[in-house]
């Protein structure tokens, strides 16, 4: 038996024995927040998996991972999916800031932050966009001034998803206002449980409020919590964005669940709503649209698989923009199609389909708009000039 086959066998046995029933199927997935109570089985699953280093399987052992190779990681993901086990931990900690610290942080930062992130101790918010800095992120103005061994932060961040339940926030701040705009930015970690950090909800078009504005008024951050060097935040922050996009794209194997491909249930879902005759959808337009959707979705899933196979490093670079964008467009097409199939029923907002249609309008905006992704692909992949 080859080494990888042995790994599969032992992994399968361990998962069967250690994955509690309450961590299988759909349900709660922890993302680190200390203000969200975990169900007993979910807590147990997180604890068992993190002890084994399998919440962040490819990270080094000393930082809470299991040092799995890409192939071993793929096997683990396969085996989790096989028993329908939920991922033990997700969120911006294990998927965005963790991989960034691992790649660009100092040894001290890795030691102080990564093991806790790997155990799901603390939920992370993302302090990037500002009211005046959206797609033109580098024009951000949130300031950080060095005062001894601390920075004092002042400014406003917006679209900070989940901030009301977060314990920490990584923030892009301006540390050198006199330098050119890309050269005076730093990425710093901030504890949110202090008076200088205030969170105000923003209500979205879906009616829900998972978004916020986060205000900093003389908020404190440790000077040694600037990641990747002072005034190097544009480079560090862009790398973090690649981890974000590759997470959205399902290909971030430096995180907790990259490569976990979600199969399509659209045919069954559509059939619940669309008029049928003898097992066939009778509306030829919906039927043709569904078939094309399935074709595209299958190609999308195969592309995720291919990108992971072709990765030379542990995390993808610009491919993440392409896969993230095509995935977002595909999901939105599914939402539109489903609502079209529902006809008048689609305006009732009691169904998950309608809520998803509203909520997922964000997919071509959050994490960099569709237009920004196309610009990145054109510039970085195809080499087109500014």
């Amino acid at each position: 038996m080859s080494q990888i086959d042995e790994f599969r066998t032992s992994t399968r046995a361990w998962l069967e024995e250690n994955c509690p029933g309450g961590a299988r199927g759909s349900g709660q997935i922890p993302w680190g927040s200390s203000s969200i109570e975990l169900e007993p089985d979910v807590r147990l699953w997180l604890q068992r998996m993190s002890e084994r280093g399998w919440t962040v399987p490819t990270w080094p052992r000393e930082y809470g991972g299991a040092a799995l190779s890409r192939d071993e990681y793929t096997v683990l993901i396969d085996e989790l999916k096989r028993i329908n086990a939920r991922t033990p931990l997700t969120g911006r900690g294990v998927n965005y800031i963790g991989p960034t610290i691992l790649e660009l942080g100092s040894d001290d930062q890795k030691t102080r932050w990564l093991p806790g992130i790997a155990r799901g101790e603390g939920g992370w918010a993302m302090g990037y966009s500002e009211p005046g800095a959206g797609s033109d992120l580098a024009s951000l103005s949130c300031r950080a001034e060095l005062q001894g061994d601390h920075y004092l932060l002042n400014g406003r961040k917006t679209w900070t998803s989940d901030a009301m339940d977060c314990d920490y926030i990584f923030v892009l701040v301006r540390t050198s206002p006199d330098k050119p705009k890309h050269e005076g930015i730093s990425l710093v970690l901030v504890d949110m449980s202090q008076a200088g950090v205030q969170v105000r909800p923003i209500r979205l078009l879906s009616g829900a409020s998972p978004f916020n504005e986060t205000l900093f008024e003389d908020a404190l951050a440790r000077a040694d919590d600037v990641i990747g060097g002072v005034d190097n935040g544009w480079t560090v922050g862009k790398r973090l964005l690649q981890f974000e996009r590759s997470t959205h794209a399902g290909i971030n194997i430096s995180g907790s669940q990259g490569g976990r491909v979600v199969e399509s249930h659209m045919p069954e879902t559509i059939k619940r709503y669309a008029p049928m005759s003898a097992g066939r959808i009778t509306d030829p337009v919906i039927r043709a649209r569904l078939i094309r959707f399935e074709q595209n979705g299958h190609a999308q899933r195969l592309t995720q698989k291919r990108v992971i196979e072709e990765l030379e490093a542990r995390a993808p670079g610009y491919a993440s923009s392409a896969v993230k964008l095509s995935g977002a467009l595909h999901t939105q097409e599914g939402d539109e199609m489903l609502l079209a199939a529902m006809g008048t029923g689609g305006i009732g907002s009691e169904t998950e389909a309608t809520r998803a249609w509203l909520r997922q309008k964000a997919l071509t905006i959050a994490g960099g708009t569709k237009e920004v992704q196309l610009n990145i692909i054109a510039k970085r992949v195809l080499g087109l000039p500014d």
């Binding site: 196309l374 087109l384 000039p385």
Partner: protein
């Protein structure tokens, strides 16, 4: 299932690329597309003798190189990129697969070595004037005659390289049979008595298609009588995957051409590639081509692994590649502006190949329907 390429496979690809850069510049494509044969026998001889390509996927027992669908896919992708004019798709993909799927051992040993070595060319005649690609469209009849031979009567159309093929593999049915029943494959020399071949004018002059009339032409049955439908269906799937590989090679060539042009062409004092309207078109092309590549490479690997999902994956690959190719071709013309729709500019060569490939072996709607039926099954 692993579907990215190994170092050896990448090396194989670069050998083919070097050969094609030398032998198939578009000046050659343009010269050959004006000839009735549509290929250069000297180049065919070279790619047979120096690179052993015609038998790349044919087992060694039958004189081939013994590689599989992935290597065949690499060859097709590069041929598609360079628009090589050669009887490869007809001989090696369509006819050789049909023989491998339908013939008995003795027939394979008899027919395949000459195809593998490039000594003889061959064509597969399935489609009739009704334009269908499945067994249901077959009307040409085969009637038993003396010496175990059969008499073919009827008309085949859109036969790739049918006018030049030394050997024809013909799909026919027993008189009075219907549907998949009674379908068999037959072999007959291209110049046999009772065969009348006429080159059809095609919008895509880089791929020669012919109308072939059979008037009681004497043919040899391949395999068992009436057992041809599954063999034909499998051949169509394998050929669809190979053609899909050719299509993504062509799509990549067009995308490269459009992007290169966008970097060079100056208007309003700047390169047009600096405009977002152009950039976004280019990025959209990349998304579509890359998604199609995933479907196509995966299907080739599925063919190599004899995956039970092969039929569904073949249809997925064919539909995805066809969409990507035709859309990329249209965008490439658009990005080139006025020069893009001139005869002298090369884009139309690929544009026409994209269109002929889109309908060849069944158009995207046909394959999407098959895909849906095949994954639901």
């Amino acid at each position: 299932m692993q579907f990215s390429f190994s170092d050896d496979q990448e090396q194989f690809r670069s050998v083919i690329q070097r050969f094609l850069t030398d032998k198939s510049p578009t000046t050659e494509v343009r010269r050959l597309m004006e000839t009735p044969e549509g290929y250069d026998p000297a180049v065919w001889k070279q790619l047979s003798e120096e690179l052993a390509l015609p038998g790349i996927h044919i087992p060694e027992a039958y004189g081939g190189a013994g590689f599989g669908p992935v290597e065949l896919g690499i060859v097709m992708e590069e041929f598609g990129r360079s628009l090589l004019c050669a009887p490869f798709f007809s001989t090696s993909v369509l006819a050789a697969h049909a023989i491998l799927n339908a013939a008995d051992e003795a027939q394979k040993a008899d027919l395949l070595p000459d195809l593998a070595s490039g000594q003889r060319t061959a064509a597969l005649a399935v489609t009739e004037p009704n334009g269908r690609w499945d067994a249901l469209g077959i009307e040409l009849t085969a009637t038993a005659a003396e010496h175990g031979e059969f008499l073919l009567k009827g008309t085949k159309s859109f036969v790739v390289d049918g006018n030049t093929a030394d050997l024809l593999i013909v799909a026919a049915r027993s008189p009075t049979s219907t549907g998949d029943d009674g379908v068999s494959l037959f072999a007959i020399p291209g110049g046999a008595t009772g065969i009348d071949r006429r080159l059809l004018e095609s919008m895509d002059a880089t791929r020669k298609i012919s109308l072939i009339e059979f008037d009681n032409a004497r043919a040899q049955l391949l395999g068992k009588l009436g057992a041809g439908a599954p063999a034909l269906s499998r051949t169509m799937d394998q050929a669809a995957i190979a053609l899909a590989n050719e299509m993504i090679g062509g799509a990549q060539a067009l995308m490269d051409s459009a992007v290169d042009y966008a970097k060079l062409r100056m208007q309003f004092g700047r390169t047009i590639g600096s405009f977002q309207a152009i950039k976004h078109k280019c990025a959209d092309m990349l998304l579509e081509v890359e998604l199609a590549k995933s479907a196509v490479y995966y299907a080739a690997q599925a063919a190599a692994d004899n995956d039970p999902e092969l039929p569904a994956l073949a249809s997925l690959a064919k539909a995805s590649a066809a969409d990507a190719y035709i859309n990329t071709a249209a965008t490439c013309i658009q990005l080139h502006g006025g020069i893009g729709f001139t005869w002298d500019h090369d884009t139309h060569l690929w544009f026409k190949r994209a269109k002929s490939s889109e309908v060849f072996l069944g158009d995207p709607s046909y394959h999407r329907e098959l895909y849906m039926q095949r994954i639901a099954a």
